[in-house]
C-alpha cells in the first residue's frame, strides 16, 4: 500500500505551462451549474423519497391482504376480497397518500397486483362496476415523525457528528437508508441501501436508530409497522 517515489528534484512546469490550465470563466460556469443542479436535486429528492415510501407501503398493504385472503379461502379466482388500489401511486405529495381505498378486485390477486402500478387511471371505472354492498373502505395513516419532518431534520442537524476520518479526507455524500417504524413508533431494521463509505454510513445508522419516536402508521386506527426510506446528506462546512 505504501508506495512512494521519493524525489529530490522534479521537473516543475513553467509559469506559462501553468497559466494555460487557468480558466476562471470555466470555473464560474461549473460552479453555476452545480449550484443549479443542487437546488433542483433538493426539491426532487423530497418528492422521490415520498414516492418510494408510497410504493413500499402499498407493497406491504397489498401483501398483508393477500396473506389474509389466502388464509380464508384457498381458491383464488373470482372470490370476494379486499385489496389496496394505488390511489397514491400517481401522486407525489404526502397529502395524497394519507388515505387508501380498499375495494373488490374483479381479477385474481396476482393479476391485480401486476396491473396496479401501470393502470391507476382505470380504477374509477372498475369502482363503478363493483357491487356497492361489497365495498369496504380502509383508512390508512402514513407514519410520521412526532413534530413533523422539520423537527426530525432539526434533530439530524443537531446530533450529526461528522466522522473525523471522513472530515480529514474531505468525504461528502448522501446515504440512502431503509428502516421500519414499528407499532410503538420506534425505528428498527435500519439498513443502508446506498452508502458513501463505512464511517459515514455508520453515523447515518446511528442517527436513525437514536432519532425521536415516530407516530406509527395506522390502518383503520390500528398502529402498524411500516417501511420508510430516508436520505441523509453529509456535507462539510469549509
Amino acid at each position: 500500500m505504501k508506495t512512494y517515489q521519493i524525489m529530490f528534484e522534479d521537473d516543475p512546469p513553467t509559469d506559462m505551462e501553468i497559466n494555460q490550465y487557468q480558466n476562471f470563466e470555466q470555473l464560474l460556469q461549473q460552479h453555476k451549474a452545480i449550484v443549479k443542479r443542487r437546488k433542483l436535486l433538493q426539491s426532487l429528492a423530497l418528492g422521490a423519497g415520498l414516492l418510494v415510501v408510497t410504493f413500499m407501503l402499498i407493497g406491504i398493504l397489498s401483501s398483508d391482504h393477500h396473506e389474509k385472503k389466502q388464509e380464508v379461502s384457498p381458491e383464488p379466482v373470482q372470490e370476494q376480497e379486499t385489496m389496496v388500489t394505488d390511489s397514491a401511486a400517481s401522486g407525489q405529495t404526502a397529502e395524497k397518500k394519507d388515505t387508501l381505498h380498499l375495494k373488490e378486485p374483479v381479477t385474481s390477486p396476482e393479476q391485480s397486483q401486476e396491473s396496479k402500478p401501470t393502470k391507476p387511471a382505470s380504477n374509477p371505472e372498475k369502482e363503478t362496476s363493483l357491487p356497492l354492498a361489497a365495498e369496504k373502505e380502509a383508512v390508512f395513516m402514513e407514519a410520521r415523525p412526532v413534530g413533523g419532518f422539520t423537527a426530525l431534520y432539526d434533530y439530524f442537524e443537531e446530533k450529526l457528528q461528522y466522522p473525523e476520518t471522513a472530515k480529514t479526507d474531505g468525504v461528502e455524500g448522501a446515504v440512502l437508508l431503509e428502516f421500519e417504524i414499528d407499532q410503538e413508533g420506534a425505528a428498527r431494521q435500519v439498513s443502508v441501501l446506498q452508502g458513501v463509505r463505512e464511517d459515514i454510513d455508520q453515523e447515518a445508522i446511528r442517527l436513525i436508530r437514536q432519532m425521536p419516536q415516530w407516530q406509527p402508521a395506522q390502518l383503520n386506527g390500528e398502529p402498524m409497522t411500516s417501511k420508510q426510506t430516508l436520505s441523509l446528506t453529509f456535507q462539510l462546512d469549509q
Binding site: K2, I6, P12, P13, L27, H31, K32
Partner: protein, 192 residues
C-alpha cells in the same frame, strides 16, 4: 526590514479579507484570489502527482470546492491560502485512494540541516539513497509532515490547520519524526 515585511503581510491579509467578503456575495469577485493562488496550489499538487494534466484536474476541483464552500468560510487565524491547501490536501488524498497510483514525495536539502540541527550535516549526495529507504517505510501521516514542513516550508500553525490536528501535536510529531530519521540514518551507517 522584518517590520516592513510584516506590515506588508498584514496589509495583504486585510485586502484578502475584503475580496473574500465580496466573493461570498458574488463569485465573480473571487478572480484575484484564483489568480494569486492558482500557481502555488497547482505546484503543491504537482509535487505529489506524476503529471501536469492530473495536477490541473485536481487544482480545478480544489477551486471549485472552494467556491462552493466559500459562503460558509470564516477567517480562522490562518491565511486564506491555508484553507485552499487544506482542500488540496484532501483532494490529493482522495485521488490516491481512488487511483492507487504511486505518490511522489519531494525532499530537499533543508531536510538534512533540520535533522542535524547545529551539527555539521554529512554530505547530502551519499545520504540520498539511505533517506529514500527510510522515508519509503514511513506512514502517510509522517510523509505529510515532511512535505508540509520541509518542502512547502509551512509554519506549524498552518500545518496543523491543513492536517486538522493541534499545533502542538504537529510540532511534537515533527520533532519526534526528525529524531527517528536521524537514529535510522546513524543505524544504517553503522550497519554498512
Amino acid at each position: 526590514m522584518i517590520a516592513d515585511h510584516l506590515s506588508i503581510e498584514k496589509q495583504s491579509l486585510v485586502k484578502e479579507e475584503q475580496i473574500i467578503r465580496a466573493a461570498q456575495k458574488d463569485t465573480a469577485a473571487f478572480k484575484p484570489l484564483y489568480e494569486r493562488y492558482y500557481k502555488p496550489v497547482f505546484l503543491f499538487i504537482f509535487h505529489k502527482v506524476t503529471d501536469q494534466a492530473t495536477a490541473a484536474d485536481i487544482t480545478s476541483q480544489v477551486f471549485l470546492k472552494a467556491l462552493l464552500h466559500l459562503p460558509k468560510y470564516k477567517l480562522q487565524g490562518v491565511p486564506f491560502s491555508a484553507w485552499l491547501y487544506r482542500i488540496a490536501h484532501n483532494e490529493v488524498m482522495q485521488y490516491f485512494r481512488k487511483n492507487h497510483k504511486i505518490r511522489k514525495v519531494m525532499v530537499d536539502e533543508t531536510f538534512l540541516s533540520e535533522i542535524y540541527e547545529e551539527e555539521e550535516p554529512p554530505h547530502w549526495e551519499p545520504l540520498k539513497e539511505r533517506l529514500v529507504s527510510i522515508i519509503s517505510q514511513l506512514p502517510l501521516a509522517e510523509i505529510h509532515l515532511i512535505e508540509l514542513r520541509f518542502y512547502e516550508r509551512k509554519p506549524f500553525k498552518e500545518i496543523a490547520y491543513i492536517l486538522q490536528i493541534t499545533e502542538n501535536h504537529a510540532k511534537v510529531k515533527t520533532y519526534r519524526l526528525l529524531d527517528k530519521i536521524k537514529r535510522l540514518l546513524i543505524d544504517q551507517k553503522i550497519n554498512s
